[in-house]
């Protein structure tokens, strides 16, 4: 390289990094960065397989049936793509529930480990990164898609234990990512320090009053010290009032108070988490999110829709048991309603700085660790996508022939702008991304 060229290129590099905030990767702090057509991904998970009757449409193409379970999505028919034939073809250690969970988003085997389910070989964590984290990693590495968190992992009633049945997101081999099930904790993560400041700011009047009273009753010899102290109280006030207006496009969400993180509050918890998820998107804290309802073998008891039994127990009943089939349909309909609520919220928000709505710039994927509950099949996973599609042909039902999840994840990554050639196990990606 000639000296002049070198100078030019290094100057260019300097120009590209004008300030510390850019150089340290805090680009999201810069208010005026270009928001080039944001692309977002939400992976929604519900457990224990799907009922066949009442979920799968009969007719391929745009005129597909939206039967009992899918009916809540009717308003988004044009933006919905239902795919039949997606299969988790990863084998190896662990039972189907474990592999169904740990391999679903990673497309990689579970590592040999010390956890045994049923009578299968024991296993541990997944041996690779999951697609949500992979896409987030990619977005964080690009100039215009960096956000504060990259991805946020929302849970609803995910049990407070880390095992292969409760984790689907992985940062890499042996690195499970824990979803946050308590909306208040998620709020803390998203806006915590801000909330602390707000609390303090709203207490300033009381603090000053208390200090004033104390000071007025102190003896003269002690006044000098208290006066010095009082000055710091004033400077704290100054600082708080000047820095409290952090520029978020929308206000941090006001969560309803005192909702305990317990089974019976599932509908409230679900709504709070979805509201937070959308609020995070609006403030561009992240571009990727997961929304995990309970866990593989999850035992949600949906008394609020008249189902008293645990979900996993019900999923073991044979298909001919019409009573339990109906209950399973109700359970999955409720999950679909949550998906529809999320879509409705995204649909109502105009995409900032671009055309269309936020839903048009988001792809929501709803799937499951099993295809079918009582057979524990890893084939024909329920696979529903809603959103702008990023080039996918939306508004239809399609059947594909035994396609590995990895090929679908490749397609989604590429649609998001991440030109991945392979994801998960190599032999499961031989045919490349599936065309949808």
């Amino acid at each position: 390289m000639k000296r002049r060229e070198f100078l030019r290129s290094s100057c260019g590099a300097i120009l590209a990094f004008p300030g510390l905030s850019t150089a340290t990767g805090l680009r999201w702090l810069m208010p005026d960065r270009k928001r080039q057509t944001a692309k977002r991904l939400v992976v929604m998970f519900s457990p224990n397989g799907m009922v066949r009757n009442g979920f799968w449409p009969q007719t391929e193409g745009p005129d597909f049936e939206m039967d009992q379970v899918l009916r809540p999505l009717e308003p988004f028919r044009e933006k919905t793509l239902v795919v039949h034939g997606v299969c988790n073809q990863v084998r190896g250690d662990g039972d189907n529930h474990m592999r169904g969970m740990g391999c679903l988003l990673t497309g990689n085997e579970l590592l040999p480990g010390n956890i045994q389910g049923g009578s299968h070989t024991p296993a541990g964590w997944a041996s690779g990164i999951s697609i949500d984290q992979e896409i987030s990693r990619y977005l964080q590495s690009t100039d215009h898609n960096q956000t504060r968190f990259g991805s946020l992992e929302f849970g609803i009633l995910v049990p407070d234990k880390a095992d292969p049945w409760t984790r689907m997101s992985f940062l890499g081999p042996n690195q499970p990512v824990a979803p946050i099930s308590d909306p208040y904790r998620m709020f803390e993560k998203m806006y915590g320090t801000l909330k602390d400041k707000e609390n303090l700011l709203s207490l300033l009047g009381d603090l000053k009053q208390d200090f004033g009273q104390f000071q007025s009753s102190a003896i003269p010899e002690d006044q000098a010290m208290l006066q010095r102290h009082q000055k710091f109280l004033q400077s704290m006030e100054k600082e708080l009032t000047s820095s409290s207006n952090v520029n978020y496009p929308v206000a941090p969400l006001e969560l309803p108070a005192n909702v305990a993180n317990v089974n019976d509050n599932m509908p409230d918890l679900s709504k709070m988490q979805i509201d937070l998820l959308v609020n995070g998107f609006q403030n561009d804290l992240n571009r990727v999110a997961t929304l995990q309802y309970t866990n593989s073998v999850g035992q949600a008891r949906m008394k609020f829709i008249g189902v008293d039994e645990g979900h996993h127990a019900l999923s073991h009943h044979p298909d001919k048991n019409e009573k339990t089939q109906e209950k399973l349909r109700r359970i999955n309909t409720w999950y679909c309603e949550q998906l529809a609520y999320l879509c409705k919220k995204l649909q109502a928000i105009p995409e900032p700085g671009s055309n269309g709505t936020m839903l048009d710039h988001t792809l929501v994927v709803w799937t499951n660790e099993l295809g079918h509950g009582n057979s524990h099949s890893l084939n024909d996973l329920p696979f529903v996508m809603v959103g702008g599609g990023f080039g996918f042909e939306m508004g239809r039902f399609t059947k594909v022939k035994r396609v590995s999840t990895t090929r679908v994840w490749l397609a989604i990554a590429q649609a998001m702008g991440h030109e991945l050639g392979q994801f998960g196990l190599a032999e499961l990606c031989k045919d490349g991304a599936i065309k949808l």
């Binding site: 010390n114 049923g118 880390a162 709203s202 208290l226 010095r228």
Partner: protein, 783 residues
């Protein structure tokens, strides 16, 4: 190469002074002493001489003058020494011009009016100044408030952890292999009771059906109890194991390390956690071995400033205590310019730290609100219970009965707001911990019951009263003499008090963990582990004297006991001891308690040679209570190269032989020389450079008495029988405990405490009881 000697004693100045040599000048003077007509035989008017000639530099009342001689005219030379000093050196320009009767008269005048200890006491205008909580007091008080909701703590009777072993993955009673107390978790060679083939004959009788159940194959164990660190700060915790495990420390809900699922080969697992010295933090470790990996596990730690080691048995107790809630927020250090840490400095960084700490505690409380209030969200009375908890919280933080207005202001108004209960609680906690009523506890107005409880807890524990004490206050019973006396002794024996005494010893004996670097050629086996062992040994010694024996102050210097573990024994070339620390008597007739303890001898030495000056200054200031001025400048000590044949003592004598040096060094040197039998790492030696060590010296007391010393035991005997030393100990202890100089409580208090100390056989615990009484204005003799 120099080492740093921490500041101690009562002189103001920077906290760390670089010490080369203490070349100290007692008095300097720029003006002429009044030179009377030499022939005049009448008695000179000393006051006139002083005002006319000395005051311009030393101030009208001996207070000193900034532009000339800053320090006040105080000291502890005897009258004859002072006279001699004036005769020889004053005025500096012409020492011969103030001699004879004039010098004598002016010396007498200065001595009586300003200089002597009586004069100093008379001139002191000490008062109990307003001060805020020190860093230690802030943390202890916060922890204390929450602790006051729990059953009170007593000194542990047993160390170790409760251990349970099972011949299965799960913990069914019929699979239990053993239930016992383990000293600690140090099973790098295999966990007890584990059998790689899963053959547990002891379980043969259990039902066969269960045995085939896959869930019952394997092995598991759990340990629980509490962890009591001896340092405050961030501790690194390391678990070494390939097995599945989960570790909880000071958080009964969340794991510090969760490795239940294992699909890797990583052995070392680290986490960092803030722990408070002397407080028991709940500890629980569960381990799973499935199906057949080796079962090995070790739990290690790296306390602040200490090397990595397996957590010792002494740091565990089998009883599981509630969580310790205290802020990890780092604070700026307290003002220690008066020789003890106290809260007289208000700075922006201090105020910010109190804010951060308040928020930290508020968040931690709000996360645990249901458990702390012993209720749950579904309890119909939950809201009321949380409110009641908050009222108690505020009243205990301020150690006072709240008025109706105060209840409304600090608690109830926040519960009227339409915000989550967590946010309501946060507001209460932040407002309380930021309140001057909490931060300046001495200025809070209280009834006598609360005043006593507050005074005793603050003095003895640096904290708020505990549950038992509050219950006496609530029943109006603390003023009953019998109950009060009982409580005082219980409080002195309390773990908080023991920890506070340790903090005093750390300060008084320079025993905080500053790394000592030693010459690797001369001392190849000295390292951070040896230094940590020495520190542990010192504190075991102190603990033994104060808490296990009869608490006799004199034994701190006279005892010949030394605590060693195998590593330290080997280093000191002693007979190896059994596993762990044990008490041995070594070098009979040669060692003298803390005076010759390897930790101090190592700290008070250079990297290769001893430092009689460091040792002498330490003994003079901290133990004998002498006043030493700072040396006028740093002086590099003479090194071995100066004359390779000279011993350390000879070099020091050579370098300090000037008259100006000797004014101080005649105090310092003899004390330091008497410890020359202990080398730079605290080993006993009889010779240096093939010459026999000479420990004989003569020490001059402030009263002008000459004391002949032949080694450390003579020095120890002198120390323990010397009234000034005894009083110096009382003063140090008093100011450390109360954060005020003893004079602030009345000029007669030192003599009173001293005579009681003597009557009580120099019992340190009795002295602490008396100090607590003085600071709380409880008549010493009446109760």
């Amino acid at each position: 190469m120099k080492i740093r000697l921490k500041k101690s004693g009562f002189l103001p100045g920077p906290p760390v002074i670089r010490v080369g040599l203490f070349i100290t000048i007692w008095l300097t003077c720029h003006s002429l002493c009044f030179a009377q007509e030499a022939t005049n035989q009448s008695i000179p008017d000393a006051a006139k001489i002083y005002q006319a000639q000395c005051a311009s530099c030393h101030g009208k009342n001996g207070e000193g003058k900034t532009e000339f001689f800053e320090d006040p005219l105080i000291g502890d030379l005897s009258l004859s020494e002072l006279t001699q000093y004036i005769v020889e050196t004053m005025p500096e320009e012409d020492p011969d011009s103030c001699i004879g009767e004039e010098a004598k008269a002016v010396a007498q005048f200065i001595y009586d009016k300003y200089y002597s200890s009586d004069a100093q006491l008379r001139n002191t205008k000490a008062r109990i100044e307003l001060s805020h909580l020190t860093v230690r007091q802030f943390r202890q008080s916060v922890a204390g408030i929450f602790d006051s909701f729990e059953r009170e703590l007593y000194p542990p009777e047993e160390n170790g952890l409760a251990a349970n072993y099972f011949g299965a993955r799960n913990w069914t009673d019929n699979k239990r292999l053993a239930e016992q107390t383990d000293p600690n978790i140090d099973y790098g060679d295999g966990v007890p009771f584990f059998d790689p083939d899963g053959n547990y004959p002891q379980l043969a009788n259990t039902k066969k059906k269960k045995a085939v159940n896959q869930m019952n194959v394997g092995f598991s164990a759990y340990w629980n109890g509490s962890l009591i660190p001896s340092e405050t700060g961030m501790h690194e915790i390391i678990v070494e194991s390939k097995n599945g495990f989960r570790l909880k420390i000071n958080d009964t809900e969340n794991d510090l390390i969760d490795r239940r699922v294992r699909s890797d080969e990583v052995v070392e697992h680290k986490a960092t956690i803030f722990l408070m010295a002397g407080h028991p933090h709940p500890f629980a470790l569960e381990m799973f071995s499935y199906p057949k990996p080796p079962a090995k596990i070790r739990v290690l730690w790296k306390p602040p400033g200490r090397p990595l080691s397996v957590i010792p048995e002494t740091a565990f107790i089998p009883e599981t205590r509630p969580e310790v809630i205290a802020p990890a927020t780092s604070f700026p250090p307290d003002d220690s310019s008066y020789g003890f840490a106290r809260g007289i400095g208000v700075s922006r960084s201090w105020d910010d730290a109190t804010t951060s700490a308040a928020i930290e505690v508020a968040n931690r409380v709000s996360e645990r609100i249901w458990r702390l209030c012993k209720t749950k969200p579904t309890d119909p009375n939950a809201h009321q219970k949380v409110k009641d908890f908050c009222r108690k919280f505020v009243s205990r933080a301020f150690v006072t009965q709240l008025s109706a207005d105060e209840i409304q202001f600090f608690v109830d108004q926040h519960f009227e707001k339409e915000i989550s209960i967590q946010d309501q609680v946060k507001r209460v906690v932040i407002l309380t911990l930021k309140s001057p009523r909490f931060l300046y506890p001495s200025a809070q107005k209280r009834d006598r019951q609360h005043q006593i409880a507050h005074g005793l807890a603050m003095t003895l524990w640096d904290s708020v009263p505990d549950r038992r004490l509050f219950s006496f206050v609530e029943k109006n019973k603390l003023t009953q003499p019998k109950i009060l006396e009982n409580e005082l002794w219980r409080m002195v024996d309390h773990p908080n008090s023991r920890e506070k005494l340790n903090s005093f010893f750390r300060f008084w004996l320079h025993a905080s963990h500053e790394e000592a670097v030693k010459d690797s050629q001369s001392f190849p086996d000295f390292d951070a582990y040896i230094q940590a062992d020495m520190q542990e040994s010192l504190f075991l010694f102190l603990e033994n004297i104060v808490w296990k024996q009869d608490g006799d102050y004199r034994q701190l210097f006279l005892s010949e006991d030394l605590f060693v573990n195998p590593r330290l024994a080997k280093f000191l070339r002693l007979k190896p001891s059994a596993k762990g620390f044990e008490k041995v008597t070594v070098d009979p007739g040669k060692r003298a308690g803390v005076l010759t303890h390897p930790y101090l001898m190592t700290e008070l030495a250079y990297h290769k040679d001893t430092s009689p000056i460091h040792r002498g200054v330490f003994v003079a200031k901290n133990l004998l209570g002498r006043r030493l001025r700072q040396p006028p400048e740093d002086v590099e000590p003479l090194t071995e190269e100066f004359d390779p044949k000279m011993t350390t003592r000879q070099r020091v004598e050579h370098q300090t032989k000037d008259t100006t040096c000797m004014n101080c060094h005649k105090v310092i040197n003899p004390l330091g020389f008497s410890l020359e039998n202990f080398d730079a790492v605290g080993r006993y030696r009889e010779s240096e450079k093939d010459k026999e060590i000479d420990v004989t010296s003569i020490y001059r007391t402030p009263q002008g008495e000459q004391v002949s010393l032949k080694g450390p035991r003579d020095l120890a005997e002198f120390l323990v029988n010397n009234e000034t030393s005894q009083k110096s100990f009382i003063k140090h202890l008093f100011s450390h405990y109360t954060k005020h100089p003893i004079e602030a409580f009345g000029t007669e208090k030192l003599d009173l405490l001293h005579s009681r100390f003597r009557q009580n056989g120099f019992n340190i615990k009795s002295l602490l009881v008396d100090i607590a009484k003085v600071s709380t204005e409880i008549p010493i003799d009446k109760y």
